[in-house]
Structures are given as structure tokens and as C-alpha cells.
């Protein structure tokens, strides 16, 4: 076994250098989804998030893209970052031991002036081995391996681990990261983006957003003041909050509620940004009982403190703010396109003629789903930009 007998990597010491309670950052967030499933180039998204340049400070930028690997749609697409060749060799051996690696390659990048000292970033399209124990799903298996890699003592870190999706992130402004990873060559039906303004962390590529587990990604603007109890609650369910950042708990909370507890997305949003008790008391009886039970059961997962997030997974993109809306989130719609952004101007820059633009109420989720007849287009796509 590769990682046996070695001390665990302390991600906190990398990501949260000063040993603070949590990593604190403010940011720009952006999301774009074509609900018809049409895949589009991210260039508009890069432009939009660049328009919010001043919301970040160049210490982190990143993107999540969904539907970009149609040729490997059924494989888990593991994106890994290495700080040394030695780590890469060790981790690749680990991957071969635990997965069937169908294809592997370095994530294409170009030398740019802005990006200095980049780590190695590789991607692996893998299948989980046959004959998993009955109580362990393939997803569970992948999560466990990701946790193993992330806490192992070598310099490897998993950027993303879902199917037909990827996270590209690093130290720099988001538009610089897009340029570095040649993101203009990909097409996806969901793009989310993040520009970061951390206050207590040194530059580390793994610490940039989006945070991800399986195909769940989170980009987050805010500070979760309930982080301490959110983390302790998740630890009871076996999640290791190794990064000591509040964004990480959002990703794990969503994974727990949606995947493990099988709750619908609308309900998950009500856990994370719960309605107030006096609102609940005014609800019709059935809803009231449900909401009471939700707050009684999942009170420790209430995300409290200022936040706006864009959460995405295959087929869905969700925007949510804290329940008194202490961080901005604007929604724009144009035909099948749904935009979520910290600032309306960023949306209007790439789609000036919106059908609809509004600011959701605090705690009110904005959910974008693929339309029932949607299909992820594979062939015969014309080059198009995000703002049609």
C-alpha cells in the first residue's frame, strides 16, 4: 500500500498557513448554464468574471465545467495536482492499484506571463473496480480514495473527481487561469467561475475555488460563521475537513444531504438557508411540520453568516445566499441561458438583452435544471459564444 505507515499530510498547514479557524475570503462568483443542454465555449464566462476583477486580489481563480468530456462521459475524471514528480509517480501507482485507468494525460496549458511556478496538473479517466462491497457505491469508493489522496503525506491533491466534468483552478486572477489552462478550447453546458480575495492564506493552487467532491462543485463568496459546528457535524458522518476552509463544508454538506440522505435539492437549500421560525409557524401544516423537522434535525448544517454560492453538479446549477442576504447574487435569464453572478453588470456585459434579471430573496434558491427534453449535444456544434 502506497500510503500506509506514513504520516498524513496536513492540508491545514498548506491551505491555512496561520492556523486560523478557517480560511476567509471574499470574491466574485459567476455561473452560466444552458438549460437545453447545448454546450458552449466559456469565453463569455471568462469575460464576465474578468469584469469583476476588483472583487478578487489575484490569489485564486478557477472554473468548473460540465459536459466537456463527452468521449469519456462514463468515466470518473480525476483531475490531480502535483507539486513534485515523485508525488506524481506515487499517486499514479495508487491510482493503478485502485482504479482501471482508461486514459491519462497532462492537462494542456500554455506558458503565460501572469502564472508563475505552476504545479503539474494531470487528468485520469478511470473506472472503479468490479465487486465492491454491497454497502459501498462506486461514488462512496471514489470519495474514500479522494480523501486518502488528499490526506496522504505526498504532494498530490485532487481538483475534481466527477464524471464528465472538471475543475481548473490556480493562483492568479480567473481570466489568467483560463488563459493558462487553454479553457477556450472546451465546451460545456454549465460553467461556474470564481475570483478570490483571501485574507488569511498564502497562495496555494489547491486552495482556490471551485471546491469539489465527485461532480459537486461550489464557488463561494462569504464567510460561514457557523463553520465550527458545520464541520463538527459533518465529521460525525466521516467527512474530513482537511482544508480548514468554510467552502469545503458546503461541498460536503451538499454531498451528505443530496447523495447520502437522498433529499431533493429544494429541501437541501432549505437546510443550508433555513426559513425563520416565525415564517415556519405561518406555513400550512404539512409544510410547517416538514420545515420544523428539517431545522430540528439539520440545525447544525444551517450555514450562518454572509454567503452567496453557486453550486453545480451534472444537470443542475443552484444559486443561494444566506437567509438575510448579506452577500450579493443576481440572476439573469435569456432564453435557455441562466446566469448567476455577484454583479448584474457582468451578466449584461455578455448578454445585454436579458429576458429577466432579478435579485433573489435571502435564502431563496435559484435552481437551474436541464429541460426534460434536453440532451447534451455532442456533434455538429457550431462555434458559438456564450451570449447568443
Amino acid at each position: 500500500m502506497l500510503f500506509e505507515g506514513k504520516s498524513m499530510k496536513n492540508l491545514m498547514s498548506i491551505n491555512n498557513t496561520y492556523n486560523d479557524d478557517k480560511v476567509i475570503d471574499a470574491c466574485s462568483i459567476f455561473g452560466a448554464m444552458d438549460r437545453s443542454g447545448r454546450r458552449f465555449s466559456g469565453e463569455g464566462v471568462f469575460k464576465a468574471v474578468a469584469n469583476m476583477h476588483d472583487r478578487g486580489n489575484g490569489l485564486g481563480g478557477g472554473f468548473a465545467a460540465y459536459g466537456l468530456y463527452p468521449e469519456h462521459a462514463d468515466n470518473y475524471a480525476l483531475h490531480l495536482m502535483y507539486l513534485s514528480i515523485k508525488s506524481k509517480l506515487e499517486t499514479e501507482e495508487f491510482l493503478r492499484e485502485h482504479f482501471n485507468v482508461v486514459w491519462q494525460e497532462e492537462v494542456p496549458s500554455r506558458k503565460t506571463a501572469a502564472i508563475t511556478n505552476p504545479p503539474l496538473v494531470w487528468r485520469y479517466f478511470v473506472d472503479v473496480p468490479q465487486g465492491l462491497p454491497e454497502n459501498q457505491s462506486a461514488d462512496d469508493y471514489v470519495v474514500a480514495r479522494v480523501m486518502e489522496i488528499n490526506t496522504s503525506d505526498n504532494d498530490s491533491f485532487v481538483f475534481s473527481s466527477g464524471k464528465n466534468m472538471a475543475v481548473f483552478k490556480g493562483v492568479g486572477y480567473p481570466e489568467e487561469i483560463a488563459e493558462y489552462f487553454k479553457l477556450e478550447q472546451y465546451k460545456a453546458y454549465i460553467w461556474t467561475a470564481h475570483g478570490r480575495f483571501p485574507t488569511n492564506t498564502v497562495a496555494w493552487w489547491g486552495g482556490a475555488h471551485p471546491f469539489s467532491i465527485l461532480d459537486w462543485t461550489v464557488v463561494h463568496n462569504g464567510e460561514i460563521s457557523s463553520y465550527g459546528i458545520n464541520r463538527r457535524y459533518l465529521e460525525q458522518f466521516g467527512y474530513k475537513c482537511t482544508m480548514y476552509t468554510d467552502t469545503e463544508v458546503i461541498a460536503y454538506a451538499v454531498d451528505l444531504l443530496l447523495r447520502k440522505h437522498n433529499l431533493p435539492l429544494e429541501i437541501v437549500a432549505r437546510v443550508l438557508a433555513a426559513p425563520f421560525w416565525d415564517e415556519i409557524e405561518r406555513m400550512p401544516e404539512k409544510e410547517r411540520n416538514l420545515m420544523r423537522a428539517i431545522r430540528q434535525t439539520y440545525g447544525s448544517l444551517l450555514l450562518n453568516g454572509p454567503f452567496a454560492v453557486v453550486i453545480a453538479h451534472s444537470g443542475e446549477m443552484i444559486g443561494l445566499t444566506d437567509r438575510i442576504r448579506l452577500r450579493p447574487l443576481t440572476v439573469g435569464e435569456k432564453d435557455d441561458m441562466l446566469y448567476l453572478s455577484s454583479e448584474e453588470s457582468a451578466i449584461r456585459l455578455i448578454s445585454p438583452d436579458l429576458d429577466n434579471a432579478w435579485s433573489p430573496m435571502g435564502g431563496e434558491p435559484v435552481i437551474g435544471k436541464l429541460k426534460p427534453d434536453a440532451q447534451i449535444h455532442l456533434e455538429d456544434e457550431k462555434e458559438e459564444i456564450v451570449s447568443r
Binding site: 463553520y227 463538527r232 460525525q236 433555513a274 411540520n289 447544525s300 444551517l302
Partner: protein, 501 residues
Amino acid sequence: MKTFVTPKFKVNRDEDRCIQCQVCVNQCSFGANYYDAEENKVKSREELCTGCHRCEAFCPTNAIRVTYNPLDYRGNYNWRPDIIEDITKQSETGGVLLTGMGDDKSQRIYWDHIVLNASQVTNPSIDPLREPMELTTYLGQKPERLELEPGTHNLKTKMTPQVKLDVPVMFSAMSYGAVSLNVQESLARAAKEMGTLWNTGEGGLHPSLYKYGDNTIVQVASGRFGVHADYLDAAKIIEIKIGQGAKPGIGGHLPGEKVSADVSLTRMIPEGTDAISPAPQHDIYSIEDLAQLIYALKEATNYTKPVSVKIAAVHNAAAIASGIVRGGADIVVIDGLRGATGAAPKVIRDNVGIPIELALASVDSRLRQEGIRHRASLVASGGIRSSGDVAKAIALGADAVYIGTAALISLGCHVCQQCHTGKCAWGICTTDLRLTKRINPEIGARRAANLLRSWSIELKDILGGLGVNALESLRGNRLHLRGIGLSDTELEILGIRMAGN
């Protein structure tokens, strides 16, 4: 036998102000003030003064000052005045020294070594005057997860009984007999007004208080006094009392003189007989016996109300609490070293048990490590003095707290520690009808409710400052705490970091 114990207090009377009205004489239930008719002068027997300040508060001309009697023994770190006096008293009586209230010794008070956080710049603090701020707390077992009917929003999981608190502070167990009916009624009315609960203690529930049932926790203790079907049915929560912080491992004894007709009716024992609460519950010699009693009570009440188990904080509190949760309790109450009493041997009160802060932290951590924290609510009790203490207790992991002494102080108690004498001049810890009427339940309820009201406003200020608007975001959130002047081991047990770190 001539007593060698010299008076503790001095009653200073300003002769120019004193009008010989004898209010002080009538107010002092300890007989420390008397009227000398021959000299037409009010005088004091200072050896009887307990320092309760009742006479001082009621003197119409502000003529009385009760001060410490300056009695300077030769300085000695080992043989301190209280120790010398205890030995002297025991030499004169040959008995166990009894006392009231909680441990008054100098063991570390951890609350005073813990500080809270607040928001600056990176997240906004929230103004509770202008934004909603939630203290609502539900006590009771929670499921590990919720299940919905597939494809719907219909709740499939059946919730066990949950009891709502508008403020996470309850009045702790003080039995009828230990305190007067007027005290219980004051607390019951305050609890009702403020949306919280009061606790009968082990002395049964007086018929006149059944109307407060929805705000009542009834106790089932080792003496089983006053336990019957109606009593259980009346309650919102049933609490099995295993122990209390003031006297872990020790039973109780209500002397026959206090068992009046009314007390006898409520306790279901003959008038004038001693009420003995055995040290253990004689049907609970082990954890599986406790589980049987928990389920017997749940069966008896048709699973309509949570069952709580109260223990004193002792060395193995974490392991014991884990057993209690696994035994089926919906609520676990931990009563710390400073938990108070109506009467206890002083040596037990001051030497047995561990501080609530450490017990609470270790119990909460243990239940989380075992993944069973959701299966019971956790209530901390014993020495909670302010909304600051409440906030810290909740951040350490408590769902709610009990207050006893603080509640009595709101009614007038001056913490003179004479509860065991039954002579309370403030009319609280007594059944003497001449004294109990000093508490007017209407005024008492207003005072106790005011205390809870001010604490809830302060709690909201604390939450808002932390940048959260619901109590559950502070609950168990130890990152909002820091320690001052604590060792690494203490910090580790409390699960908090040193301030500045």
C-alpha cells in the same frame, strides 16, 4: 457548651437614623435583631446574623449596614478562617456540617477563563434590533437523517416528541418542601410567560400548579415522592434524577417538621414524617436498569413526552452520558461541581464532582465521537450566572441550561447559604407560612421573567456580534471561544484554543 465560633457579621446601626420601628426585628427570621423594651432600643445578636441583608433592604431609614466582622486570625495559607471555624463547629456538635447553595470554594471557574468572538470586517455583525435573531431551541431526540416519501415533500420519518424553548434557559429542579409553593408558582408563571420550563424537583406537583403543566418538567427521583399517573401526564418532560452537582452520590432528607399538610399531600407521605430520598434509586443498580425505567416512563405516557436523565458531573461523566443516551434518554442533564442544593453535607458539596465546563465539553465531544450526539439533547447546569455563561455553555455543546441559584436571586435570594435551616428570611427556601408569604407569586414571576428577558436580549446581542442569527449556529461551535490563562490540557478538554491563537 460555650461556642468558640465568633460572629461572622457585624450589624452596624446608625443611632441617629434608627427610629426603633422594629422592622429589622420582624424581618430577621434568624433572630439576629431584637427589641429591648426597657431601653426602647433595637439591638442585635450578631452571632445569629447570616449576612442575608434582609434587614438592611427593609430598614425604612437606611440605618443598618451589615458588614464582615473584622476578625483577623494570624495569617495562614493552610489554616484559613473557614477551616478553623468548621473544625470548631464540628467539635461542638459532633455532626456532619450541613450547608445550602453551591460550592463556594476557589476551584477554577472556567467561564471566567473563556471569551467569545465577534465579527469585524470580513463578515458583518447583525443588529438584533433590526434583524430577526432566533433563540428557539427544541429539546428531544433527533433522527440521524430525514426521509421523504420518494418524489414528494412528504415527511416519512416520524419525529419523536420535541419540546420547544423560546429561550434556552430553564429553571432547575427545586422541590416543594425545599422551596415554598409561592417560589414554585413564581417560576412556573415566569416559565409560561417566557416560553421555557420549570422543574418540580422530587417533591411532587402541587394541585394548584397543574395548570402550568405545559411548562413543567416533573422529576422521578429515588424517593419517588408524588409520582403517579396524573403527575406524569401533566408534564411536558419527565426527568429521572440520578444525582445532583451539590451532592453526587448522596441522597436527600426533608425533615418531618417541614412536611406540612400541603407538603404531605403533594409528596404522598404522612404529615410530619421525614422524607428520605435514598442515595441510589434502588431499582437502578446498573445502566440496563436505567434503560428499563426510561422505557417504563415512556410506556406509561405512551411515548408522548421526552424522558430526561440528570446526573452529577463526576469523573466518568462522558462514558456515563454515552450509556444514558444508548439507554434511550432523550435529554441528558449534567449538573456540575457548583450545582446548588437546599441542604447537603458541606464536605460533599465542596469536594465531590467536576466543573460543569469540563464535563459538558467532554460529554459533547464523546457523544460526537460515538456519532450519537443527535440522539439526545444536552442540558448543562450548576453555577450558570449570566447570559455570557449561557452563550459559552451553548458554544461548548449544550442545547440549553438550567439555572437555580440565579433564578432564586431574581426572587430576592442573597446567597447566604442558610437554605438547610428552613429559616430563609427572604421567604424562598422555607415552608414557614410566616416567611413564605414574603414571596408574592405575581411579583416573583415578574422578576424571574425579567431575568430571562434580559438574558435573551443579551444572548441576541452576542449572536448578532458573532455574525449569526440562530442559536444553532453557536451550539457546539467552539471556534467562537478562546481560553485565557489555561493549560494545554485544559484547552484540549474544552476543545478550544488559546486567545491570540
